[in-house]
Symmetry: C2
Subunit: 209 residues, 2 copies
């Protein structure tokens, strides 16, 4: 397809497609003349990926780092998956102390053996510290309710990860992590709406709750 069709298919304006090419995040098409090139489905998919990551607030440098890992997944896949997903927001402040007492306690309680240098551990520590500072610390009880539920979600995610090529696995991990966090958050909020309506509904005896 021509660039105009690539633009139409992805809903991304031609100048933006050209910008992606210049930034090196979109691979060049197959040149058919001095000024024309042909694009295919891999370009459609890549533009969709760039658009999605860009919509999540990632910079061109961060997107370039991710697509480089997808295009050249050299190291063991597990390391590359960790590196790629670590590029997703929220950024972990490298100046933060590398001690994660709250995250460590939660991981132990859940039976997870994730090492401290995995960026999501710092993220978890940060999120738990924020809840604690606001007077709503994670309790053992809450962790027992959340832990198995989140694990069930993650089990589905990882079982579905395509392993036929490293590139596809990385793309799946990056998009699946980033795009489904807002879905899960929104599903939780609609569930809250439904369940508080049920809990606050007047009962025959005149009481609520």
């Amino acid at each position: 397809m021509l660039m105009s069709e690539l633009a139409a298919r992805t809903g991304v304006p031609i100048p933006t497609v050209k910008f992606y090419l210049r930034e090196g995040v979109l691979m060049p098409g197959e040149a058919t003349s001095a000024t024309r090139a042909r694009y295919d489905e891999t370009h459609v998919q890549r533009v969709a990926l760039i658009k999605a990551l860009s919509g999540l607030g990632l910079s061109m440098a961060q997107i370039r780092a991710i697509v480089t890992l997808i295009d050249e997944p050299g190291r063991p896949l597990l390391d590359t998956l960790a590196t790629a997903t670590a590029l997703l927001p929220p950024a972990v402040d490298p100046g933060e102390p590398a001690e994660y007492p709250r995250a460590r306690a939660a991981l132990t309680a859940l039976g997870l053996a994730v090492p401290d240098d995995y960026p999501a551990v710092a993220q978890l520590e940060h999120a738990l510290a924020a809840a604690e500072a606001a007077g709503m610390p994670m309790t053992e009880d809450r962790l027992r309710a959340y832990g198995p539920a989140v694990l069930a979600i993650a089990e589905y995610d990882i079982a579905e990860m395509p392993l036929d090529s490293a590139s596809r696995a990385i793309e799946y991990a990056v998009l699946g992590t980033a795009l489904y966090e807002p879905v899960i958050a929104a599903l939780r909020r609609v569930s809250h709406a439904e369940l508080s309506a049920r809990r606050l509904a007047p009962r025959p005896d005149g009481h609520t709750g």
Copy 2:
């Protein structure tokens, strides 16, 4: 306690405490002289709330709207809970079309009767549309895996909501919604790390997965 102690207790600098007072989000202390006032635990809790909401990127106007609902919960509690949590990010673009086909289908599949004007429905539609645009649409299968897990989390949340006062219920809903979204996201990411390590670990027969 004096303002200096309030500042020390909450880790918020005195000029910021004064700013909160001027902005009307922190209630005044009990005046003990022309220039001094006494603060108590309700002030400590309020400063922690403001700090938490501010850390989530809410503007002073949004924080003021939330604390006004906490201080004067006039309407039926269920409406006030919806209004207060709707003030949390992500903001829903009011110019967006008010049709939610993807969210509606998901809610029906999960047996949730949340009305369309509930802001989390627009949020869910937006998140599902983004996943679809990136080539990773929500499947029935994924929804069947995520739905019960998210409902289990929400059931815990709503069962724990304090109903002894409307103010406490609203504060709990706002903080519990906002502060635990990043916790859940981080727990999912550490679970991914654990489960992909297990899935990619070499098996005795020499295969992975």
